[in-house]
Amino acid sequence: MEIVYFLALAFIFLVKTNQAIRLKNVVPITKGQVFPKPQMQISFGTQNILNKNEFRFEYVKGSQICDVVSIAFKRYYKIIFDSRLLRQTNRIKNVSSIKKLTLMVHEPCELYPNLESDESYNLKIASSIAYLESKTLWGALRGLESFSQMIIESDDGSLVINDTLINDFPRFNHRGILLDTSRHYIRSSIIKVHLDAMEANKMNVFHWHIVDDESFPFVSSSFPDLSKKGAYNPYTHVYTSDDVKEIIEYARLRGIRVVSEFDTPGHTQSWGKSIQILTKCYTGEKPNGDFGPIDPTNNLTYSFLEEFLTELTAVFPDKYLHLGGDEVDFSCWQSNPDIAEFMKQKGFGKDYSKLEQFYMQKLLDLINKVSPKSGYIIWQEVVDNNVVVKPDTVVEVWKDPWPEELSMVTKLGYRALLSTCWYLNYISYGDDWKKYYKCDPYDFPGTDKQKSLVIGGEACMWGEYVDGSNVISRTWPRTSAVAERLWSAQNVTNVADAQGRIEEHRCRMIKRGIKAEPFNGSGHCEYEVDL
């Protein structure tokens, strides 16, 4: 810790005392670069003009026609021809113009994206023709995003795009971000801005850490008391089923999965306000009024969970549920004589991780019972504590040292997600995005087969110090660094190169109404927040 402190000082020294030297240079900004960097891209000098009045999106004959894509056409038309920002220009003669983007989607439309969705696409701008081709509708969405990013305003105010070939696909299938709506509530309108930002960064999983110790804002139809008693305010600080549906739909239209997390058996204080399933903590021989994790010895626990999980699997369409399972505090269990008795009966000895195992196993059995098709994601502790889980379980690694953990988890044959190096709630002064950028999920000892089990990663924005007032600016564009790591090729690692592109991308987000904050030192955007 002293080392950390010392480094912080050393850093202050660099920036403050050399303000004149180090920070004089404003970060160079790219123009019309696609972010995250496509797998393969060739650009040519030829420019084509786009004209608001004549441009349109069109399906090629034979293409699948999907609602999600048709709606995206409208959305991207608005983004590209943002009427607030468009300048009047005289069309220049003798410049080629692009009158339409034609799209070919090969595979039949799907309702929801999933972990296996193919997001690849090919985009070709040449000889006044723009052509986008993808296997699935989800790939089409990613291609439209890239297309919109390549269009820039030229000096005379006209919108132009360079002749370009792009062949693109994600490196990882699971590119997520966790928002915590329990420590502070975040209104759905802000979550939607966040989903817009995810789309702009080609991220595809919204990990919704919806409840926790502090509050229970999810309105359950089977157990309405959970939010009535557990939310900060049962009327204003809740997600009604309409809110939840709206968010899932908003995400679906952007090719984003919503993976909900109902974390148990720890992190459940807010549940206990209405449902008597928490462990009573004891001081000496008497309950002291405090409660610990869910009581695994109580039958009520499981009948409640069965009904609640039935509801959750119906509300959240994604195949995966995040079941939490992290940071179970054993001290309360240890204090409780009934639990001691139970442990004795089961022959657990003093090993409370066995009790945790017992609980997790029951929970997983319940899910298999109520929704056999569901998959689950769990925090690493569950596996660390040797709980047997289904082979297709996804394990999220959040503790250090993560390389060892990833190595262990994948050796066991589980698929894994990395989030340890991407806890974006931990802020520090300066351009901390570089350390997120440099973290690569393959940097662990393991075979190719093990590496192939890493399906992606998640940036986490825990909510202790963020709410609607600052969650967007704090999350973006720092998360963009993670987005590129998870989408682009493994060898896209040049920080200096990324700097200018993220700078452009930040300005692009601001233009789209996302208040992404400065992350690179001094500079400016053509269109600032509220200019």
Binding site: M1, A20, I21, R22, S469, H524, D530
Partner: protein, 572 residues
């Protein structure tokens, strides 16, 4: 997955670690929660004993004054504080008269100088006031209009919404209040990132909500020159980021006017001879060419740029600077101009052969003499313009003779650079030499860090902790100033970076020294953050929990309400 151990790693020193992992239900917080309507910053004396609640109704409530002259400062604030007290969207008029309740219908403001309407806030303004709420009457007494403004702010903070959403305040409250320090400032840097005018105006409002009284406008720097210069339009033309990133003189005037009405001075900084890259684009001949290995225009990484600092030996510099400072004088009415003069590193001057020759001719043995030569000329220009100067401490450290009355801003500390002294040493020295000092070193709030109640470190600073001088000398420590250098701040996150972290400093500068227990203060500060949200200021959370359905993004949010915004073209 907030993990106790990880958080410990990020802990700032001196914090009670046991309470670090903050979940109220498991680990109750230290300190006592303050009752609703607790003011921030804490007044010098406050006594509230009654449980009697008074209701306020927008239709009936009036603010009256004894002023015998028209005074826009007062009338504007009477209007403004009606919005503050009865915030749009949140305040719901009670339809029925509630018989069992008592009402407060009038706040009477009594200003001793009832025939005076001062024009501009200034360094000697009397900001003291007394406020009594008793037997359904509220009386605010102040010597000057400025005290009345501060008292009005406190009055507005005593009102709160009770659990039935009625707007109320407690009867029987006596407050006697005055600032501990006369200078309570905020530096805003608009050169590294441009801050749009409407967003700056909101910060001025928020400053008034904290009884801060100086906006130090670090308007230009190396990176850009957003100030519209009329005498040398080329400087702006070449120094600005873009056309959209310019404060026209009308913009500047409207900001100064807005600040005036809130009792806040605006001190502009024209920082020279360093920090002038953007200025030098129009006047390259005024900038010292740095040499290396017998070649001109050579940067040395970490030491010097290729051309980065004014060349004091060029006599044509001074008339131009005089013209610019004259323009600053005309646009900024405050009695002070900040001349910068920080971070003047001699390497570039030393490398330049022409300067060496000139020094020889002038018989200057040391580069301090060169800086002294330059600085005294500038100080003289400001004096001739009938203004006083504020400078960063570097000039003083380098032994430049400064006129009495020059204010020195302390920003160095051994925690920043080992060869520096401590800020206490600098305060001791500067005030011993008879100069007024402004403390900034511990309050660079652009430096963020993660951890439990990061603002404690700002709050716990005691400016006089290691002060060695006598009471007379202590008076020369006129106050402090927080600085938000804007490398990582723009219009999108300025509010949430400033507030409520800056609130901690505001209390240190206004309230008595003994109000210094952060464990107690945190609840009151949390209340202040909710108060700010009700007034449309985007303040970030400090404790888990919630304010109400007026948070950012929620149905009754005032963040974009027109009464708390000033010409946003893009109100959402």
């Amino acid at each position: 997955m907030l993990k106790l151990l990880i958080v410990l790693g990020f802990l700032i020193l001196n914090i009670v670690q046991a309470k670090l992992y903050y979940i109220e239900v498991k680990y109750p917080l230290l300190g006592k929660e303050s009752p609703p309507g607790s003011p921030w910053p804490m007044p010098h004396f406050i006594n509230g004993t009654s449980d009697q609640i008074l209701l306020l109704r927008k239709k009936k409530f009036q603010i009256k004054t004894n002023l015998e002259v028209q005074c826009d400062i007062v009338s504007e604030n009477v209007k403004h504080y009606r919005n503050v007290i009865f915030p749009p969207k949140i305040y719901n008029p009670q339809r029925k008269r509630l018989r069992e309740h008592k009402y407060l219908n009038v706040l009477s403001i009594n200003i001793a100088q009832s025939k005076e309407c001062p024009k501009y806030p200034h360094s000697n303004m009397d900001e003291s006031y007394n406020l009594t709420i008793s037997s359904n009457e509220a009386k605010l007494n102040a010597n000057s209009v400025w005290g009345a403004l501060r008292g009005l702010e406190t009055f507005s903070q005593l009102t709160y919404f009770d659990t039935d959403n009625k707007l109320v305040m407690n009867d029987s409250t006596v407050i006697i209040d005055k600032p501990r320090f006369v200078y309570r400032g905020l530096l805003v840097d608009t050169a590294r990132h441009f801050i749009p005018v409407p967003i700056l105006k909101k910060q001025i409002d928020a400053m008034a909500y904290h009884k801060l009284n100086v906006l130090h406008w670090h308007i230009v720097d190396d990176q850009s020159f957003p100030f519209e210069l009329k005498t040398y339009p080329n400087v702006t033309e070449k120094g600005k980021y873009s056309d959209a990133h310019v404060y026209t003189q009308n913009d500047v005037k409207s900001i100064v006017e807005h600040a005036r009405l809130r009792g806040i001075r605006v001190i502009p900084e024209f920082d020279t001879p360093g920090h002038v890259e953007s200025f030098g684009r129009a006047f390259p001949e005024f900038i010292t060419v740095c040499w290396k290995d017998g070649k001109p225009y050579q940067p040395i990484f970490g030491v010097q740029g290729a051309a980065e600092i004014i060349n004091p030996t060029n006599e044509y510099v001074y008339p131009v600077l005089k013209d610019i400072l004259t323009e600053f004088r005309d646009v900024f009415p405050d009695e002070y101009i900040h001349l910068g003069n920080d971070e003047v590193y001699y390497e570039c001057w030393k490398s330049n052969p022409d300067i060496a020759k000139w020094m020889e001719k002038m018989n200057f043995s040391d580069y301090h003499h060169l800086q002294a030569y330059y600085s005294s000329k500038l100080l003289k220009i400001v004096q001739d313009l009938d203004k006083k100067s504020t400078v960063w401490q570097d000039v003083y450290d380098n032994g430049v003779d400064l006129q009495k009355g020059t204010q020195i801003q302390i920003w160095k500390d051994s925690s920043i650079l080992p060869e520096h002294g401590t800020w206490s040493d600098y305060l001791n020295k500067v005030t011993k030499d008879g100069y007024a000092a402004i403390l900034s070193s511990p309050w660079y709030i652009n430096f963020i860090s993660y951890g439990y109640q990061e603002w404690y470190k700002f709050y716990k600073v005691e400016p006089l902790a290691n002060f060695t001088g006598d009471a007379e000398q202590a008076k020369l420590l006129i106050g402090g100033e927080a600085a938000i250098w804007s490398e990582y701040v723009d219009g999108g996150n300025l509010d949430s970076r400033l507030w409520p972290r800056l609130s901690a400093i505001a209390e240190r500068l206004w309230s008595p020294a003994h109000v210094n227990d952060p464990e107690e203060a945190k609840f009151r500060l949390d209340e202040q953050r909710c108060r700010l949200l009700r007034r449309g200021i985007v303040a970030a959370p400090i404790l888990n929990g919630y304010c109400g359905n007026y948070e950012y993004g929620m149905a009754k949010s005032n963040i974009f309400d027109p009464v708390f915004n000033y010409g946003w073209p893009n109100v959402q």
